[in-house]
């Protein structure tokens, strides 16, 4: 089941692709020294609510699926809620106490710490989104 969720988001991602019209989107590039991951994360917001989130680029299974699930999770959320979801996810990856109730499918990455070399893959999209939310907030 967990494997199917990851493979589904990897082979048929819901939010992969550059927005047709970049107007209104903030974007951030993220890449990795250790893995081939190299992609953009896009955020669109309106009145303090995330209205769209996308990503586009080259990514391994772990970074593809984790970033795609991230997009699923934050779309429709208020900034504070989106930021909390990301914070809880990063705590989970760090193997610290976290609130599982807000993570939904993102819980599939619970065991990433088993493969420490891949923690970066599982968090790079999330860290980029965190930065975008902060930027968007400051811009207001």
């Amino acid at each position: 089941m967990i494997r199917e969720i990851i493979m589904d988001h990897y082979s048929s991602p819901h939010h992969k692709g550059k927005p047709n019209n970049l107007k209104g989107y903030l974007s951030l590039h993220t890449d990795s020294v250790n893995c081939i991951d190299d992609f953009e994360v896009y955020l669109k917001a309106d009145k303090g609510v995330v209205t769209d989130a996308k990503w586009e680029g080259i990514a391994c299974t772990i970074s593809s699926a984790s970033t795609d699930i991230l997009c699923d999770r934050v779309i429709g959320e208020k900034f504070a809620d989106a930021q909390n979801i990301i914070a809880q996810y990063l705590l989970m990856i760090d193997e610290k106490p976290y609130d599982a109730s807000v993570l939904d499918e993102a819980l599939v990455f619970m065991n990433t710490g088993k493969q420490a070399a891949r923690i970066h893959c599982a968090t790079m999209g999330w860290s980029a989104m965190k930065e975008l939310l902060e930027k968007e907030e400051k811009a207001k």
């Binding site: 250790n34 893995c35 081939i36 772990i62 493969q115």
Partner: protein, 410 residues
């Protein structure tokens, strides 16, 4: 004859039964770095426990002793490569060695319109220094095309080289595909055009016998840590006359003969001219132990053994029906592959979960990827202590590669 089981008794990384992911470690990343035998560790330790002193800096016995040992290292490397000890410059590794040639020689003599020839299979350390020097001098970078298997051929050099070519810089063994370049013939063609032949030996010096006089290469760079020596030590070999024309990349203590307040400086002769500041003495002594160890095993035997491992690995991986191999025909102990339908990095993580250390990604040869037509690959690389059982473990993992997400859940 190489007996890897007996050899392993010399290596604490094997004797200590190091585990990874709670599995016995299967080390297949020797193109990246290698394990160290006791003799190397002892040489490094002895320097700190009974031989500490600086070199060229004192009139007492300990200093004299270290100077002698450093000289002995140059002599041993002279035996390894068939060169004179005065042609052996210590550096921090292949990268520093190539940078020394590029900036100490290239930047000094190259001019606008001159050409530097490389190949698409070069490691970043034999590409980026030349890019920089080209930018500084106005020289142009050109690539010698590889043949359909990814091999550098003498014919393709002939088709690319011109009267404007001043430097041909290529790896003797490429770090992703593992072909052995016909360096003697390449050097000859290069010299026919009046250019210099620079050899990146990072992947070849540890694995095969090299005679710089027979090849007639002008410069050769290699690293200590890829031949069982310590990290942070390497060598640049250069023909003495060329070293003499090369500018020091760094200046400071230990490399000048005299200097005055008017700015008059005279530098020492090579190789000392290039060794400014206190050297990596533990590294030099460790490197000497490693070089002696390798010569005692015999470079030809090492080469034969690794070639047989390579053949065995290709057979076993092909048998799984689950591997795409990109360099089945190459000679060196490097297999570059992907597991069908599994992204390279995910495959490497899965191998990690089974205790197998392989490199994945672009292996610092980022322009080769367009040649291979894939984004990334997995690389398994062998050494004289690699066993058939190591390769069997790899083949078994590749066979079950579809279950790569098990790495996170089992």
């Amino acid at each position: 004859m190489i007996d890897p089981y007996k050899i392993r008794e010399d290596f604490p990384m094997y004797r200590n039964h190091v585990m990874m992911q709670k599995k016995p470690l299967v080390w297949l990343d020797n193109a990246s770095t290698t394990f160290k035998p006791d003799c190397v560790l002892k040489a490094v330790e002895d320097y700190y426990t009974s031989e500490t002193s600086n070199s060229h800096r004192g009139d007492y016995d300990l200093c004299y002793h270290i100077d002698q040992k450093i000289l002995e290292t140059r002599q041993d490397i002279g035996k390894l490569l068939n060169c004179d000890p005065t042609e052996v410059v210590f550096t921090s590794g292949t990268t520093a060695s190539i940078n020394l040639v590029a900036f100490g020689y290239g930047a000094k003599y190259l001019k606008m319109g001159d050409e530097i020839l490389l190949t698409q299979a070069e490691h970043a350390s034999n590409v980026l220094p030349w890019y920089k020097v080209a930018e500084m001098t106005g020289a142009e970078i050109k690539f010698i095309p590889l043949d359909k298997d990814g091999r550098l051929t003498v014919d393709n050099l002939r088709k690319t080289i011109t009267k404007k070519t001043k430097i041909v810089a290529v790896a003797q063994i490429t770090n992703v595909l593992g072909y052995i370049a016909p360096c003697k013939e390449l050097a000859q063609v290069t010299h026919d055009f009046g250019a210099l032949f620079v050899m990146d030996g990072a992947q070849s010096v540890p694995h095969m016998r090299i005679d710089v006089k027979d090849i007639d290469c002008d410069f050769l760079a290699f690293s200590g840590h890829k031949l069982c020596g310590p990290t942070g030590i390497g060598v640049l070999y250069g023909k003495f006359a060329l070293l003499n024309k090369t500018d020091p990349f760094m200046t400071g203590g230990g490399m000048n003969a005299k200097f005055d307040m008017c700015g008059e400086v005279s530098y020492l002769e090579p190789p000392l001219r290039f060794e400014a500041g206190t050297q990596n003495i533990e590294g030099i002594l460790g490197l000497d132990a490693a070089v002696k160890y390798l010569m005692a095993l015999g470079l030809d035997d090492i080469n034969d053994y690794e070639e047989s491992l390579k053949k065995y690995a290709v057979e076993q991986l092909e048998k799984t029906g689950n591997a795409i191999i990109y360099n089945a025909k190459s000679e060196a102990g490097i297999v570059t592959f992907n597991i069908k339908d599994v992204f390279a990095q995910d495959a490497a993580t899965y191998l990690n979960s089974r205790g197998i250390a392989c490199r994945s990604g672009q292996h610092c040869a980022k322009i080769l990827i367009s040649y291979l037509g894939v984004l990334a690959t997995v690389r398994a690389s062998f050494y004289f202590y690699t066993t058939k059982e190591d390769i069997d473990a790899l083949a078994d993992a590749v066979k079950h590669g579809k279950e790569f997400l098990d790495a996170y859940f089992n």
